[in-house]
Symmetry: C2
Subunit: 365 residues, 2 copies
């Protein structure tokens, strides 16, 4: 028995698509109506494959379903691994009418999406995210790509899926560390645009960390609603969408410094959001009480609140300089104007930024 | 002194752009108005760089111009070489507001365009094609990409340039073999949609082969006009645009069989068009006199009329099966309905296709 709990539209004109959220839907829901041709290529990884590949195949009755299994992990989000998808598509003679399906977390989704954007100059794809992080963030909105040794997500495309299928049952097999990493992005939505949602999260953070499925389904629904709303207003990140990067400029620097995959993306974002909140407080936009409130919920989500011990302010400055949120050499950051309201700005006082970096790199240990 | 001869619009709504055709315009015309930010990255190859790089730089006064020089040749149209562009962009800290400039032939244009489509999920680019083939074909219309060992142009994107600058003076340094290769695509426009243009080409084929600059400028203008017209009607190749692939399915098979770069693309297309014309005659769509007329002009352009001696009908069938013009396993070919009129069809009788392959592989030597 499966239960479809929510159907959320992402409104992007002729590229609109639904997000389907349910319990036990994987393997039960027929997705073949979202497939135009006869060929399907499911892309997954060696961790997810034994758990959910057979169920995913069952979503496409009447189609020719091929599969490719990638090695698991952010460190494989590179060209060599991406090319395994192209190899499989060409060996199985998939045409321009094929549909790719991403079954897994953010790495699988980003790579499969970019493979779909690039294979024969673009074929459709479907997202079936199986981690909390990918369910609330990366599977929605069409950002796809791979890493370059000099920067994360530097090579990619905007390419929207045909449908996103979220089965909350997949979270039952997710390690607690990854639940926490996903909650970082959930908390982010509260911080940048929904103070009521943040209140709700503060009430329910313990059951969420504990994997309570009712609470998680609601958190996913509200998070996807926030994301869909932002993406519909600003698909290509001309302005508003950049607020979704709260904590990400600091976070990407941490991820790059630590080596891809040593910190989970959500963990780095958690620390990055605390750093962004500290800078927002120094800028006078939020109070120290607000800052402490943010530190507290991120701590309660079991996320780290300090960058790697060996990381210096200079490391941050060097790594943030190549971050893609810079335009013409000015360092742009997402800061809070209030709890529940964020802004993208190049106006932060350099001495405040320096003070934040000093504080987090040197003085809190 | 330079002379701007033509300005042709490519009408694609908010992605419209002009094609500028002139003599001696490179280094004289100021293109900085087509550059939004302050950074420019010129991508060229080691053959074109000593000839035209300094002139190209002079087209961007007031901008920070960096350069990257790729190895020359179709065999380098791969990920490793593409990555040299990403390396340069990241090492020089180019932001999302950078503009890429392709200075060279079709390989440089396709790779630079795909790099622009993918760098930070998409940045603008400018085409400065320096070969006849790229001036009349690949620089216009936004097809970009790289090759995969199992198929040509299998990985890429549709990404339109901001402007195309064609300086006919660059043809003075082009080897005769490459002039002929470019003429294959010029002749193609006559065959598929402009019988008057084919008449004109028959009159002027000798001066064109000889590099006459007045004749070439007119041929480029009329070719770009055909291409712009087709692309404006069908940017993503849902139908009409596929007629631009006359001779390309056979041609791609030849290129793949021979190994990328051993046959020039235009040479393979020349032979491919003769084979497509032969099949069109067998299908009863054109007369044998029309076929002979087509063979004659392709021969007069110094293009080959037979595939590699060791290539068999089976080689063709295997290689054509992965060609991207197939949809759901049916072999789609561009055939002539008349001289000056082409159609994309899956309806060619298999025995006629077999007869064409037999004739060209075995019996004409």
């Amino acid at each position: 028995m499966y239960k479809l709990l929510h159907e959320l539209p992402v409104d992007l004109g002729d590229r609109s698509y639904p997000i389907l959220i349910g319990e036990g839907v994987l393997g039960e829901l027929d997705l073949s109506g979202y497939v135009d041709g006869s060929q399907v290529m499911i892309v997954t990884n060696n961790r997810v494959s034994p758990l959910y590949l057979e169920q995913a195949k069952a979503c496409f009755p009447g189609k020719t379903v091929d599969t490719v299994v990638l090695p698991d992990g952010e460190k494989h989000k590179d060209w060599q691994t991406l090319n395994l998808i192209f190899d499989a598509l060409l060996e199985k003679q998939h045409t321009r009418k094929t549909t790719l399906v991403a079954l897994g977390g953010g790495v699988v989704g980003d790579m499969t999406g970019f493979a779909a954007a690039s294979y024969q100059r673009g074929v459709p794809f479907i997202q079936i995210p199986t981690t909390l992080l990918s369910q609330v963030d990366s599977s929605v909105g069409g950002k796809t790509g791979i890493n370059h040794p000099l920067g994360k997500n530097m090579i990619g495309a905007f390419h929207q899926p045909e449908v996103v299928l979220i089965d909350t049952d997949t979270l039952k097999t997710l390690p607690p560390r990854e639940v926490s990493a996903g909650l970082a992005e959930v908390i982010k939505y509260g911080l940048i645009r929904d103070a009521d949602f943040l209140d709700w999260l503060e009430l329910l953070i313990d059951p969420l960390v504990g994997g309570d499925s009712v609470a998680l389904a609601e958190a996913i629904y509200r998070s996807c609603g926030c994301k869909a709303d932002v993406v519909a207003q600003d698909e290509r990140e001309a302005g508003l969408r950049a607020t979704l990067n709260l904590g990400h400029t600091f976070g990407h620097a941490i991820e790059t410094f630590a080596g891809y995959g040593n910190w989970l993306h959500g963990e780095a974002v958690g620390t990055g959001m605390i750093m962004a909140a500290d800078l927002s407080a120094r800028e006078g936009a939020i109070s120290r009480a607000d800052f402490e409130r943010i530190v507290q919920i991120i701590n309660r989500a079991n996320l780290p609140s300090l960058p790697p011990a060996s990381m210096t302010p200079e490391d941050f400055m060097n790594l943030m300089a190549v971050d893609k949120k810079n335009i013409d050499g000015r360092l742009r950051l997402v800061l809070l104007r209030a709890v529940g309201d964020a802004v993208v700005t190049s106006d932060a006082a350099p001495e405040n930024l320096a003070a934040t970096l000093e504080t987090f790199c040197n003085q809190q240990r």
